[in-house]
Amino acid sequence: MSLDDVILLTGRTIDQGVALEGGKTTMENVRAAAICAFDSDDFKKLDTLVGTPVKIITEYGEVIVHSTISEEGPHPGIIFIPMGPWANQVVNPDSQSCGTPTFKGMKAKVEVVKSGKVLNALDLINTLKEA
């Protein structure tokens, strides 16, 4: 029910692009960007159903998103969250002194949290304000 040693990548998807143009505070954006895509063999190890919330944990933070199986696999050992506020809770902010954060290639852990709540963009950002 967990993966302990995966690499997290983030990036553009066309669904995420369409959703952000349609409204960043909409549920469409949650469905497009609050997801984590797994390699199909890795997903079997989680022993759960597609769509079940998963908690992604890195050295830099954690976030709960919906799980899905990658259409761009196989990529064993790699998980993918579309760019956006959910991905940005767990990316490496360090830029190695070049100004650009390291949005790709973080070590991550994954836990299935069946009762986990996936926040919408506004609620997610509010947790940052309150912290």
Partner: protein
């Protein structure tokens, strides 16, 4: 039912990504977009989202008792100018999804205020600009690639998702002057850790390990020079496959590397681009080879141009000493926010709350926040003042630079809803008010 009078506009430029498709057709009826032809899924959505909706701001908003309330332009500009003049180190950020004329006004305002000025290149192709400043960049306009390239490499770039019409207009399927059979006349190579949709339609897919592009680029450079590498694989790629790639690179007539965030946002950042550019330069000993970044925002290239000709620097500029200083590792928006070195911010056409790592985004909300945007975003929803903008390229004219630095004129296809005005006019109002408050 009365028949609506539909006006069709042809050859409209799409203001979404750096491809700046210039063949879009838009039908307008009663000042609303009713049909979009030729644009990709994302571009089409952008045109439709200009129609009035619950996410669209139509009047200036000011936060009163914790809630954003409609206000007059006069009051909103006055309060915004008040915040900016009182700030010692304001951050002016965004500017990549607006026209060059507004970007120029942003530079003027940042200089007046002694603030930090940055555009979204600092979270995407900033490292590419650093590398270009280090080692140059052999590039060209997209038309050359379309007409001549017989080898196209996408490295850390997934245009099927990020630049959906790039393949059809310039790089893969399109017929060119010397590439009359389109896709059949080109070899497509994709280097990526994921078997992306772009990789799935390539002739050769190289699955590189995340964060190890630098090693692979330099292994290719070594093999190109005739050095034998005594290893079985580099960056997860078997040596046989690397040798096959090197042979493909050397034997093409005209090659191009299109690279994306896979190189700039991974470890080594600008060093990856340095290596890719040096490889391109060295390939010209064997054949013709060029390299071009896949720019994301439709006018981020323009922001780099406008900032450069006004200040000498493309992004991450500090005016606190009264003259422009450049050091992305110190002055990029993400860095100054992480180090909590600002005391107010003006965000133009961007959403850093969503797009910055949490460690920097959280400090944005500690200080007064002014947002110029047409739509509600996680940034604008937490702003103290929201100034409603007409969408450049749909509701306002202006100039934008394509990813190959070709300037194109954006069209106005409809009027902006409510009291929205262009980014340029809003920034001009702010500049006037700041001058007035300082007695200039």
């Amino acid at each position: 039912m009365a028949i609506k009078k539909i006006k069709t506009l042809y050859d409209v430029i799409c203001p979404f990504c750096g491809t700046l498709c210039d063949d879009v057709e838009v039908d307008i009826a009663e000042n609303k977009v009713v049909e979009v032809r030729n644009a990709c899924q994302i571009g089409t959505k952008k045109f439709f989202s200009s129609n009035p909706s619950e996410h669209r701001y139509e009047t200036p908003m000011i936060r009163k008792k914790g809630k954003l309330e409609p206000a007059s332009w006069e009051e909103a500009i006055d309060k915004a100018a008040d915040i900016l003049t009182k700030a010692k180190r304001p951050l002016l950020y965004g500017f990549s999804s607006t026209e060059c004329e507004a970007q120029s006004k942003g530079v003027e305002l940042a200089e007046m205020l002694g603030g930090i000025l940055d555009n979204t290149a600092s979270v995407c192709h900033g490292p590419s600009l650093l590398a270009k400043q280090d080692v140059g960049q052999p590039g060209s306009t997209l038309g050359e690639f379309k007409n001549r390239a017989d080898l196209v490499i996408f490295w850390g770039s997934n245009p099927v998702h990020a630049h959906p019409r790039h393949l059809g207009r310039y790089s893969e399927f399109v017929r060119g002057y010397f590439r009359k059979d389109g896709r059949n006349d080109r070899t497509i190579v994709v280097v990526d850790p994921r078997n992306t949709h772009t990789a799935q339609i390539a002739d050769l897919y190289i699955q590189v390990k995340p964060n190890e592009d630098y090693e692979l680029l330099n292994a290719i450079r070594a093999l190109l020079r005739g050095v034998e590498l005594d290893v079985e694989e580099v960056s997860g790629v078997p040596m046989d496959q690397i040798k096959e790639l090197v042979n493909t690179l050397k034997t093409c007539n005209f090659g191009v590397i299109f690279f994306g965030m896979g190189l700039t946002q991974s470890l080594s950042h600008h060093r990856n681009i340095d290596a890719a550019i040096c490889l391109t330069r060295e390939l010209n000993d064997h054949t013709k080879f060029l390299i071009t970044p896949m720019r994301g925002h439709y006018n981020v290239a323009g922001a780099n141009q406008v900032f450069s000709w006004n200040t000498g620097y493309a992004y991450s500029i500090d005016f606190s000493k009264g003259y422009p200083r450049y050091n992305p590792g110190e002055f990029s928006a993400v860095e100054v926010l992480i180090k909590n070195q600002i005391d107010a911010s003006l965000i133009v056409a961007s959403d850093p709350a969503s797009n910055f790592p949490a460690a920097s985004a959280r400090n944005l909300f500690k200080y007064p926040l002014i947002v110029i945007d047409p739509h509600e975003t996680p940034t604008s929803a937490n702003a103290d003042i929201v100034l409603p903008a007409a969408i450049a390229g749909i509701e306002a004219e202006g100039t934008a630079y394509r990813m190959d630095n070709v300037p194109l004129r954006l069209r106005k296809v409809k009027d902006a809803p409510g009291e929205s005005i262009s980014d340029k006019e809003i920034l001009e109002k702010l500049i006037e008010k700041v001058k007035e408050k300082r007695g200039e």
